[in-house]
């Protein structure tokens, strides 16, 4: 069994969204993903980190934690914020639902994460924070074995 792990903490600033994507992409590259798989992962990370900044901390200052684990040919990505939490997770995950329509949010964030990754779990508690766990199997690494 081949395992690897990384953890990164950064301030909830929007210019760290691209930083988070680049870090995960670089970490995932050891699985030799296709361009499509890499694009899926980067987009999903972008959604989760953006949610932490806009919804978790509501543009205030906080720390976003990004963890990634590679086990065999699966990458698991965890995005954690210690912000305000989600009151109704089921509603938040409905396609096109947004709690902030005035900010021109499309309400597609969770749908994108679900579509582009194989597996999505959301844990949240009001005023404690939110944890998003996503997994994706990178298929190309099977072919190489």
């Amino acid at each position: 069994m081949d395992k690897n792990y990384m953890k990164l903490e950064f301030l909830s600033r929007s210019n760290n969204e691209s930083f988070a994507r680049v870090v995960v992409a670089a970490f995932a590259s050891q699985l030799d993903p296709t361009l499509e798989e890499l694009s899926d992962i980067k987009t999903a990370v972008s959604e989760a980190v953006t949610n932490a900044i806009i919804h978790g901390y509501e543009y205030g200052e906080g720390t976003v934690i990004l963890e990634a684990t590679i086990e065999d040919n699966v990458i698991e990505i965890v995005v954690i914020d210690k912000g305000k939490g989600i009151g109704d997770i089921k509603q938040a995950m409905e396609p096109f639902y947004t709690s902030k329509p005035d900010l021109e949010r499309s309400g597609m964030g969770f749908t994108v994460m679900e579509t582009f990754m194989d597996d999505l779990q959301v844990e949240s508690e009001k005023d404690v924070g939110t944890k998003v766990i996503m997994r994706k199997k990178i298929n190309r690494s099977i072919d190489k074995e």
């Binding site: 929007s14 972008s46 959604e47 949010r105 499309s106 994108v112």
Partner: protein
């Protein structure tokens, strides 16, 4: 900056570069809306052809500009040639209300009709 603005009346053309995320959309929204106030601009062409990544913030930006042009009887056109970005656009349902073209000239010709 992530984007440049070009005016070809009655069209405002926005060329995006690199990755379009929440960080860039916040800046782009202000610049586009300010430029759009100028006289004789009716339509907005969003050129996504040089993007390598776009997340749902980009979709929100397109939807917001759509609302603005409607109030001026204008139209939105998208330029896209990236399969990953096309996939997100399809998911969003935007294709029901906005046309996608393969280049700016094609978009301008169709907007004139």
């Amino acid at each position: 900056m992530g984007f440049t603005l070009e005016v070809k009346k009655p069209n405002l053309i926005v060329h995006f570069y690199g990755e379009l995320d929440h960080h860039i959309t916040e800046k782009a929204r202000l610049s586009i809306d300010q430029k759009y106030l100028e006289n004789d601009i009716k339509n907005i062409i969003l050129d996504l052809s040089q993007l390598t990544l776009m997340d749902s913030s980009g979709i929100g930006l397109i939807m917001g500009r759509y609302k603005n042009v409607i109030s001026k009887n204008g139209k939105i056109a998208l330029i896209s040639s990236n399969v990953y970005i096309d996939r997100l656009i399809k998911m969003s349902g935007l294709l029901k209300i906005i046309n996608v073209y393969s280049n700016v000239d094609q978009a301008i010709t169709n907007l004139e009709r």
